[in-house]
Amino acid sequence: MNAHLPILPVLIPVLSAAVMVALSRQDLVLARVLSFIAAAAQLVVASLLFAAVGEGEVLVYRLGDWPAPYGIALVADRLSAAMVLLTAALGAVLLLHAVCAWDRRGRHFHPLFQFQLMGIYGAFLTGDFFNLFVFFEVMLIASYGLMVHGGGAARLTNALQYMVVNLIASSLFLFAVALIYNAAGTLNFADLAQRVPTIPSSDRGILMAGGALLCVVFLLKAAVVPLQFWLPGAYGHAPGVAAALFALLSKVGAYALLRFALVGLGGASLAALEPLAWLTLLAGALGVLAAPTLGVLAGFASIASIGVLFVGLAGADAARLGAGLYYLVHSTLAGAALFVLADLVRSVRREEGDAVLGGQDFAGRALLGGGFFLAAIAAVGLPPLSGFIGKLALLRSIPVEGGAGAASWVFVLVASFLLLLGLSRAGSRVFWKTQGDGGQASHGPAAGGVAALALLLAGTLVWALVAGPALAYFTQAAQALLEPGAYVQAVMGAGVYR
């Protein structure tokens, strides 16, 4: 059982999606039942995987039992297992929102949702570049489908732009893969880590060009300035449940960059990204101040959170990277909560939708207002939720002496203040500037959406409560990335002939 564990997170969604397409084309109830069964199975498998790597083991699954550099390998270590568990949990929670609001507005919601999850799991677990590309494409195709789910002119034009941007990025990805293969003769992360030091200097330029192109692709997926323009429109107009899942999608870019630079390129430092992280923070925070709708606001808030994340990833020590990864989990939960909340507000306000404007009173105003208050606390990073601990741990790990460290402090704190202003402005407009007493006339928010929102917010609280062990876990995971000896050993291990 344990031997096959790393492939199950990929197999379960793809099989369940196939079954759904075959059996439940017309039967929404059956599709929902299958979807919940699949989500439960993924949670179980992800938990088992998480438990199996807890002591720092690296599980390697060789497809067809081909040895590593020739065959396809899936690798689960501390970091990827944690990411898989996060994906499974987020998927299961968002399903609650989906069945109450979204899955009957178009066809094939549930299979697309499962394919989306499959692509994300695969991207976290894959051990080589080409399968990273394939899983990225699976993830993107499913995201195009989910993004236009329900239709509508604004949604379609924004999805078209998102798709064109990502297709260009996919071309760059393939160029980069070809360059790296040309220089190193391998696409396996572990094999590459071993070969990079031995590449002759005449081929180093090709390798670096490939690496730089790949960086551009990952930074685009992560929406780091100056490649962030597509995100607010695309996520802000996507169906709320899809946007909430996409909060995880941009983290996949950050994860891939980390894996590629630290393992594949043998410890290339990401310190050069620190100025970009500052600009990303600033762009996100200013966008939150100016956002016209709550959906776009949530998009800018996730850009700001990517900025904080990259301030962490720019460090070269385990404490800072670990704090960044802890924040990654938090910002996924907080970002998803904001998107779900924007969607709920859109569903209960008749005239204004999720526009950041006052308007008629609506049912469930106190409930959604309270939810917004907590989600804003999480997004800004105020106690008692986990954003505060994440930012605190991150800032404590950055030495203030020296220009870059001090600038990181300033940018994180100023951006947090701007976020606080922007979210207060949006919240007081939407939830306090109401007229009349239309509360009875409109229907309240759907129970499933409220449950999903409550679970996500409870998740950030739990994440704050387990901060000690979680930070220790991610610091160990970061240590394993900085010294990938065990990873390389496990993948390349016994039975390799060259």
Binding site: G152, Q161, S171
Partner: protein, 116 residues
Amino acid sequence: MEILFAVLIAALTAAGIYLCCLRQVFPVVLGLSLLSYATNLFVFVAGRLTVGAPPVWAEGVTRFADPLPQALVLTAIVISFGMTALLVVLAIRARFESGAERSDVPAVTDRVEVER
């Protein structure tokens, strides 16, 4: 042969990027197709160009064509084909829903549209 490939890939890439910059949906679709052709050719030659060599290593053979890029390019062709088809469908839907034929998003106005 290297020169021929390099010029071909460069021309396809340049044409693709130019068409993508036109911001009309149909040229962008064509541009992305050209770009994917350029990519496929580029991946194809990533294992270095060889003529008349066997594709798989065998006893006594010292010069052989690298089979891996050919396998990669097959996958890449399938994916880019599927993507282009999806993009065309999406562009047609967007054309009918919004009446616009542009691939960029109009500037944000003060009026906020409510979507449901």
